[in-house]
């Protein structure tokens, strides 16, 4: 009987933990296991007014993101530190930045890399080993109803070390 009790107690605790501190749980997904993510590809899609893709430019791996647990200067808002290891023909260069992630959105800021990654993304894929972040453009039209004219995609896979 005591085993059943312990089991139920554990289950209750698990549910309670799951019901709170969700933002930490989502951020943890990014920084655990050394927090290294390879940018599998980056893509820019342009759409016409009917929603048909006009062009789809895909850029293969441009480097790696290393997400840390430690808070940044904006830790009050949940921001953590990270580094973009940008790779080009001259080698790999490190660019620090800050990020905040709640499972649905991720904001990246203060990254000075030549390959622009700053912005507030929507999370399209949120898995332990795979992430896809997207920024949608409406050609400056901020009205309540306006179709998407562009989509910037960052597709990440957890780095294998």
């Amino acid at each position: 009987m005591k085993n059943i009790f312990n089991c139920l107690l554990f289950l209750s605790c698990a549910v309670i933990i799951m019901s709170c501190e969700k933002e930490d749980r989502h951020a943890k997904k990014l920084y655990r296991h050394e927090g290294r993510w390879t940018i599998d590809y980056a893509s820019i899609q342009l759409f016409d007014s009917t929603g048909v893709i006009m062009s789809d430019s895909i850029l293969p791996s441009v480097g790696e993101l290393v997400m840390f647990q430690s808070g940044s200067l904006n830790a009050l808002y949940g921001y953590r530190q990270a580094v973009f290891l940008f790779t080009d023909t001259a080698g790999t260069h490190a660019f620090p930045f800050e990020y905040v992630f709640d499972g649905k959105r991720i904001t990246i800021k203060y990254c000075d890399a030549p390959f622009e990654i700053d912005g507030t993304y929507s999370s399209a894929i949120d898995k332990v080993n795979e992430q896809q972040w997207e920024i949608y453009g409406t050609n400056g039209n901020t009205s309540a109803i306006s179709s998407m004219t562009s989509k910037f995609i960052l597709h990440l896979k957890r780095s294998k070390n």
Binding site: I16, I17, S19, G51, Y77, S123, G137
Partner: protein, 276 residues
């Protein structure tokens, strides 16, 4: 963490007091009335009437979800004595409302209501049957996921649409009602009904009660988009919001937790017998 420690302490004390520990898991349905959201949905439908194919429903449909609770009870075995049960646990409720536009896109609002509940029931009954009145206190952590769904099914929480965001609000709620349970020995099926109301701060004047998105996404987004300032509070009257966003916020044209209605629960209660 405080909740977990409280729960462990509560259960430990019950064991020491030789009370009967019980756990329950069940389904909850809450046909809520949320006046703030009703104002938003109706004004949004009216403002964009010419572009809307299927408008928002007038209010959120019934929220439903799961509850898991634990506590202790005092009762006799012969179904004829005093029945006292106090439980604590979580109630996770979900509901959504969506407006579809003529261009095939939509505005979606999903409401998550995560409640930390403490119930106290007083009545008569025992192992096979009980009937009781109950009071409930709910510490409510609500979130509204407000997104725009594009033609290809892409769901955006990004800053390109002013209303996109995840808006949170907290509030202490109360309730009263009754329950009836039937069962055999250590397992009972319990039907519970409680009327939910706002015990304190009826005008919702504290900012904790307002649905706000202050996590730092919005301020940065505004700098990046360099267009209109993304809203940090969900507006109640959409006409007023569209007319002048800043005045709308300063005039308290905001939605706060002020829902009410009856909450119904059907659960299985497992009773762990007393120590001999």
């Amino acid at each position: 963490m405080k909740k977990i420690i409280s729960l462990i302490l509560l259960v430990s004390i019950c064991f020491e007091l030789n009370a009967q520990v019980n756990f329950s898991i069940g389904k909850t349905i809450y046909p809520l009335h949320a006046p703030g959201f009703a104002t938003f949905f109706n004004s949004y439908n009216a403002e964009l009437a010419s572009s809307i194919k299927t408008p928002f429903k007038a209010d959120f449909p019934s929220a439903n979800g799961w509850s898991i609770k634990g506590g202790y009870l005092i009762m006799r075995d012969d179904d004829a004595g005093f029945y006292y049960n106090t439980t604590s646990g979580v109630n996770l409720l979900r509901t959504k409302n969506e407006a579809f536009f003529a261009n095939g896109e939509s505005r979606k609002t999903v409401l998550h209501m995560n409640e930390w509940i403490t119930d106290v029931s007083l009545g008569v009954g025992g192992n096979n049957f009980h009937i009781a009145v109950n009071g409930t206190i709910q510490l409510r952590f609500n979130k509204v996921f407000c997104s725009y769904v594009y033609h290809d099914g892409t769901e955006s929480f990004g800053p390109e649409k002013n209303l996109n965001g995840i808006f949170s609000a907290n509030r202490l709620m109360g309730g009263y009602g009754g329950e009836v349970g039937f069962g055999i020995k250590y397992v009972q099926v319990v039907f519970k009904a409680a009327k939910i109301y706002k015990p304190f701060n009826k005008d919702g004047s504290t900012y904790l009660n307002y649905y706000s998105d202050l996590a730092g996404y919005k301020a940065d987004a505004a700098l990046l988009v360099n267009s209109s300032w993304p809203t940090e509070y969900l507006p109640a009257d959409y006409h007023q919001f569209v007319a002048d966003q800043l005045t709308s916020e300063s005039n308290n044209n905001l939605i706060y937790i002020n829902d009410y209605g009856w909450q119904f629960g059907l659960s299985l209660m497992f009773i762990i017998p007393k120590k001999d």
